[in-house]
Amino acid sequence: MICQKCGSRNAEVHYKTNFNGALCEFILCPDCAEKLEQDTYFGVNYYNKILNSFMSPRSYARTVRCPLCGTSEDEVLKTGKAGCPKCYETFEEIFIPFIKRINGSSRHTGKTPASAGKEIEEKQKLKELKTSLNKAVKDQDFEKAAELRDSIKELEGGNEA
């Protein structure tokens, strides 16, 4: 049997399933099966295909590539996928509006990994110290301001290390 997608190689992968009531059937060669990346495991990829149609090209030049993995804008638009974590920064203009449209929100709620958690905590602390420093200066409490300045320096120095 010949692969339904490329029409040239031998088909070796046969998959049948129903997704929200509709029958989906593929007879594919291993190459196309991989390309299609049908995550039938949790049935999310049919859904992804629909999601991809929500993605729209943005204003910047088509030659933009991710500095870490080399993925191009065209590739992101075509596959709807990121090549590496950095892609989410590089192609922010594509991903963020898309994520917002699909989820109605563009901010993560949930678990924070330990390393990132520490960073966020420090950032928050720094913000609080700076607010207190401004207040101390305004109140002309220079002794307290000096103490706060030392703490800020220490925290910032720690971040650089």
């Binding site: 049935g43 929100s105 993560h108």
Partner: protein
């Protein structure tokens, strides 16, 4: 003891629960863009960390899928330990499995890590807790790709945020017979859940096994996602029971007859296809829940459900080159011995 040898909560109607977390290491491209050297490096360092003794009390073993034959890999798919993509993909990839087979960590699937926990019956909280434990352990050793705004960064934007996919496998024959399954599918679809037949095709899935899972990983936290799924599953199970009771009130003899006939076939047949066996196991299961068949245990039915699948039959009988007729004979023999 393997996880499926235990009878879980609501075990008659809820076959199993699964939770998976998608995770990636920072500083590496996602697997689709990894060089062979980096693939190897990730496979090596994650698997050795886990097998050399993580601190979660589990003993882990690595199966290197780049050197595993298609039958063994197919059998792991049928057991829900790896994804079909993982079995067909090439390159340096592997799965680390706990002794009781409840925890599996796929390395270099679509994401660097897919932490998966399986449990018997309805056990979303327990599975999430276990997955979190493994996640925290790996988080202590490796740095994850994560951003404050987008959460855990994944290859596919549909997994961003929590990276959590929770799914519950249900046996819903009364929904199927009454035609209410399509209503369930469309209404749960609108609520952000996916309903999918596990075996077979069309709405009349073989044996009426369905999987309900969350669609979204963004905008609500892990516990919230699980709690919403819990509510949906509970009400589906209650409705399934109501439909079964209603049918039984009118057709008690027919219901009993169907269960006993299925039992008879499984116990005495000399040839069984995987579709027939799957379907008969479903009829017996329904009979056990109704109290018609008292001697059959739910864990046995759970184990047989995947043991009758094609690759499993080959692995269990030790003959990787059987044709389909030989397989049907071996399958019938294995099922006969189990009953």
């Amino acid at each position: 003891m393997k996880w499926y040898e235990i009878e879980g909560e609501m075990g008659g109607i809820v076959v199993s629960t699964r939770v998976r977390l998608a995770r990636n290491l920072s500083d590496y491209p996602f697997p689709a863009k990894l060089s062979s050297k980096d693939e190897n490096e990730i496979l090596e360092k994650v698997s050795s960390f886990l097998t050399d003794g993580g601190d979660d009390g589990e003993a882990y073993t690595l199966t290197d899928l780049s050197t595993t034959d298609a039958v063994t890999a197919g059998a792991l798919v049928e057991k829900h330990i790896i994804s079909p993509r993982m079995a067909s993909k090439r390159g340096n990839r592997g799965v680390v499995l706990s002794d009781d087979e409840s925890v599996s960590i796929m390395i270099n699937e679509e994401d660097h890590l897919r932490i998966q926990v399986l449990g018997s019956g309805f056990c979303l909280d327990e599975c999430l807790e276990k997955a979190n434990r493994v996640d925290d352990m790996l988080d202590g050793e490796f740095t994850y790709a994560w951003s404050e705004r987008l959460g855990y960064l994944t290859r596919c934007p549909s997994n961003l945020g929590t990276g959590l996919r929770a799914s519950v496998m249900l046996h819903l024959p009364a929904h199927t017979e009454s035609g209410e399954i399509s209503m369930l599918m469309s209404s749960l679809g609108r609520l952000g859940f996916t309903v999918r037949g596990i075996y077979g095709e069309g709405t009349a899935a073989i044996g009426s096994y369905y999987q309900i899972s969350n669609q979204f990983t963004f905008g609500s936290d892990e516990q919230d996602t699980i709690d919403r799924l819990k509510k949906v599953v509970k009400s589906t199970v209650e409705h399934e029971q109501e439909l079964r009771d209603r049918y039984r009130d009118r057709h008690k003899n027919a219901a009993e007859d169907k269960a006993w006939r299925a039992y008879g076939l499984l116990k005495y047949a000399r040839k069984l296809s995987s579709a027939e066996a799957t379907s008969l196991l479903g009829d017996v299961r329904r009979g056990v829940v109704a109290g018609d068949l008292e001697d059959v245990s739910i864990p046995l039915l759970n184990a047989l459900l995947w043991q009758v699948q094609p690759n499993q039959v080959k692995v269990i009988s030790g003959d990787y080159h059987m044709d389909s007729e030989e397989r049907d004979i071996a399958r019938a023999e294995m099922v006969r011995e189990s009953f």
